[in-house]
């Protein structure tokens, strides 16, 4: 029997999906602005963060209302709890997009150097992780979600490699210290981006399979 | 189980069985008079019962045979008249007491009904004599009907009131809540619901009236000839039995037994018919 509040759960899912699209778009724009040295695009990203925050507030309130008014249990309860968690992850991903956008200006003069590093590779992988984690939420696909968890290691390794490369670079070429520092920080941002995508994927697995996979060491899922 | 527990169990079972046996014995004891009366009158009167008994008029003194056709019909007419007078009054009084009677007037009416039920039936007959026979200047079925009607009233009133009170308040509320006026709710919803119980009361009242003799002596008097006019004296089973039983003729005494048996059987049949007719169309819940 369909209950009338199922509509509210669907609406909530829809709002989350919209927020996810927005955040994905922000990331894309921010990375493009970074690697193309596009200042005005970077400014757009920073302006649009207000929208991301508005979604954050909206979803928190929607969740609270649904909790209060419908006393969800089982899958509905897991969906709601994870919605709150995913909401907060998305909001932070939005912030990272802004952080990336903020570093476009200082690096605009160092595009070659920037492009010579593996940062854009990292950015691509991290963005795919975010997109896959969102897709897995939309489709309720725990398998896709678990693939995201695997990719986190790749990003961590790239981050470590980039650190070593840049430190060597800074030792050797003093004039590159500043841009290198920015790139280091960007690398850290991207590493955290991958972590947020991983968290979202773990929440999806929780919703779908009622299994808590957070905080388990090692790659992949342990049953 | 240990020994004391076994003993205690046996003791309990023995007590249970003793109680059961005792109850059965009491039941049988209560049934004995009924069975005795039935069978005794049957044995005594069976020889008088044949088709003629039911369709023929009484024969003149000295001749054997004949029947009690007029008495049978007379009882029917008297009960009919009595019902006509007594039932509406009783039922309406019962409805009033149940629905509107929680006040001093209601209390008075209830008290008077109780008093009325205690008055000896012969007195009621005298009253009917005074109020009907005297003005009419002769005995009549009408007067008999009035007497029987008065006798029916207390039983019908009390039973009707009880049965209506038993109907749960929620049905009244349900009726009122869909905009049915109070009186219609009482008549069309509460009354039908209480009907089964009320007809039991009516049956009791009719059974009592059918068995009355004394009041009829002053009112309907009795009639050896065929008569169905209500302004004339009329025969009845009970007066027939009274007259024939105290006569010196053996044939008449035999007929009295037969009539007695018919009367009992009639009342019994009445019960059965009422039960069948008022059985709810729907299964008991």
């Amino acid at each position: 029997m369909e209950r009338h509040f199922e509509r509210e759960l669907e609406d909530l899912k829809g709002t989350l999906v919209n927020m996810g699209s927005l955040v994905d778009g922000q990331l894309g724009s921010a990375c493009r602005a970074l690697f193309e040295g596009d200042l005005s695009r970077a400014r757009d990203v920073m302006d649009r963060d207000r929208e991301v925050d508005a979604y954050d507030t909206l979803i928190d309130r929607q969740c609270m209302d649904i909790f209060a008014l419908t006393q969800p249990v089982a899958v509905d309860l897991r969906l709601l709890m994870s919605a709150l968690a995913i909401n907060s992850q998305l909001e932070r991903i939005g912030d990272i997009a802004v952080n990336i956008a903020e570093r476009v200006e200082p690096l605009v003069a160092h595009r070659e150097f920037l492009l010579s590093t593996r940062l854009s590779e990292m950015a691509d992988i991290a963005r795919i992780m975010v997109r896959d984690s969102l897709d897995s939420f939309i489709r309720g696909d725990a398998t896709l979600a678990s693939r995201v968890l695997v990719s986190d290691d790749v990003v961590d390794k790239l981050d470590g490699g980039l650190f070593r490369t840049l430190v060597a670079e800074m030792k050797g070429h003093h004039e590159r210290v500043e841009p290198a520092a920015h790139i280091l920080i960007l690398s850290r941002h991207l590493e955290r981006l991958a972590d947020h995508a991983t968290n979202i994927a773990e929440d999806v697995i929780f919703i779908v399979e009622a299994k808590l996979v957070k905080h388990t060491a090692g790659e992949g899922i342990r049953p | 189980m240990r020994t004391n527990e076994k003993l205690y169990l046996l003791w309990r079972k023995a007590k249970n069985n003793a109680m059961l046996a005792f109850s059965l014995a009491c039941l049988l004891l209560a049934l004995v008079p009924l069975v005795l009366i039935f069978s005794y009158t049957l044995i005594q009167g069976i020889s008088a019962i044949n088709l003629d008994f039911f369709i023929q008029m009484p024969k003149p003194v000295g001749e054997t045979g004949g029947g009690m056709a007029n008495a049978l019909v007379g009882t029917g007419i008297l009960i009919g008249l009595g019902g006509l007078f007594g039932l509406p009054v009783g039922i309406l009084a019962g409805i009033y007491l149940a629905e509107y009677g929680d006040n001093p007037l209601g209390g008075t009416v209830r008290f008077l009904a109780d008093v009325l039920s205690g008055i000896p039936s012969i007195i009621v007959g005298v009253v009917a004599y005074i109020i009907v026979v005297l003005p009419m200047k002769h005995f009549s079925a009408l007067a008999g009907g009035v007497a029987l009607g008065i006798l029916m009233i207390p039983t019908v009133t009390r039973t009707t009131e009880e049965m209506i009170r038993l109907v749960p308040q929620s049905y009244r509320e349900a009726g009122l809540a869909i905009g049915i006026p109070r009186w219609k709710t009482t008549l069309r919803i509460i009354l039908p619901t209480a009907l089964k119980g009320i007809t039991t009361g009516i049956l009791l009242a009719i059974a009592r009236a059918a068995g009355e003799t004394a009041p009829l002596l002053f009112t309907a008097l009795g009639n050896r000839f065929w008569s169905t006019a209500i302004d004339q004296p009329i025969g009845s089973l009970t007066v027939f039995i009274y007259d024939y039983a105290k006569s010196p003729f053996e044939d008449w005494i035999r007929q009295a037994w037969g009539a007695a048996f018919v009367l009992i059987a009639l009342i019994f049949a009445l019960s059965v018919i009422f039960r069948i007719v008022t059985r709810s169309r729907y299964a008991e819940h």
């Binding site: 009338h4 909206l58 | 929620s170 869909i178 905009g179 049915i180 819940h285």
Partner: protein, 264 residues
């Protein structure tokens, strides 16, 4: 910039006057005062839930709305209006046609069939056209989500169906006289969870065409089903507001204590 926002408050359509308004209502049963200065509005085509601990006056208030308190020898001071008209000045039989009531224990008339039960309100007020009655009975049984289950057994006794079905039958019976307001006094408290859920969904559908006020001791039900919630305590209205707000951020401490189960 497209900033998403919440839906506008469903509590009351802006500008539409309330269906029933109570002002300073006191209610007495003999010397006992059951209600003290209760003032509230029942918004049109919305569901108002009335909650509170036992003996708080919620059922009494509900019964004042269609003057059923008079059946239990209650008296009322203050005013209650229906579409602006004082209900004491409306003939009570007429009032009860416009403001219907469903009770806690399902009470279909025991001597009547399912069809006759639904048609009772109309039939006993002079409508005898068989075809018209049949139409109304079908319409109301459909509205009460009972038609499919009983359409082949309309002549069976009203008592031959299950408790949940009987309650829906009572709802259909109430709807048959075309009320504007439907009052429900703990309509699901005597029913099993599935029947309760069916009744709740029914209420959600009905509010499109009727104004509904429901008394319930089940707070979660009030949260699921209503648009506005009123909290009563010891005969007084403590707080009334949009259900969403009452169950997330109530204003009064008493309200919060009650709905969190800390008392009552």
């Amino acid at each position: 910039m497209d900033v998403p926002s919440d839906q506008p408050s469903p509590a009351a359509k802006a500008g539409e006057p309330a269906k029933m308004v109570a002002r300073n209502v006191d209610a007495f049963f003999g010397k006992t005062q059951a209600l003290k200065k209760v003032s509230l509005e029942v918004a049109t085509n919305r569901v108002l839930a009335i909650i509170g601990p036992s003996g708080c006056g919620k059922s009494t208030f509900l019964r004042c709305l269609n003057r059923m308190h008079e059946v239990a020898s209650g008296t009322m001071k203050g005013t209650i209006t229906l579409d602006g008209q004082n209900i004491l000045q409306i003939d009570e039989v007429n009032l009860r046609r416009r403001v219907g009531m469903v009770f806690q224990k399902p009470n279909p008339f025991p001597t009547m069939s399912i069809f006759d039960n639904v048609a009772a309100g109309l039939r006993f007020n002079g409508h005898h056209n068989r075809k018209h009655l049949a139409e109304v009975v079908e319409r109301c049984l459909r509205q009460a989500a009972l038609w499919d289950e009983v359409k082949d057994s309309l002549n069976k006794s009203g008592m031959s169906i299950s408790g949940g079905q009987q309650q829906r039958l009572c709802i259909a019976r109430t709807l048959a006289v075309s009320p504007e307001v439907v009052l429900m006094d703990e309509p699901a408290s005597a029913l099993d969870p599935l029947s309760t859920a069916k009744i709740e969904e029914l209420i959600y559908e009905l509010k499109q065409n009727y104004t509904i006020a429901i008394v319930t001791h089940n707070m979660q039900q009030a949260a699921r089903v209503s648009d506005m919630t009123a909290f009563f305590y010891l005969g007084e209205l403590i707080e009334i507001g949009e259900t969403k707000r009452i169950f997330t951020t109530p204003e009064k401490r008493q309200t919060e204590d009650y709905i969190t189960g800390r008392f009552g």
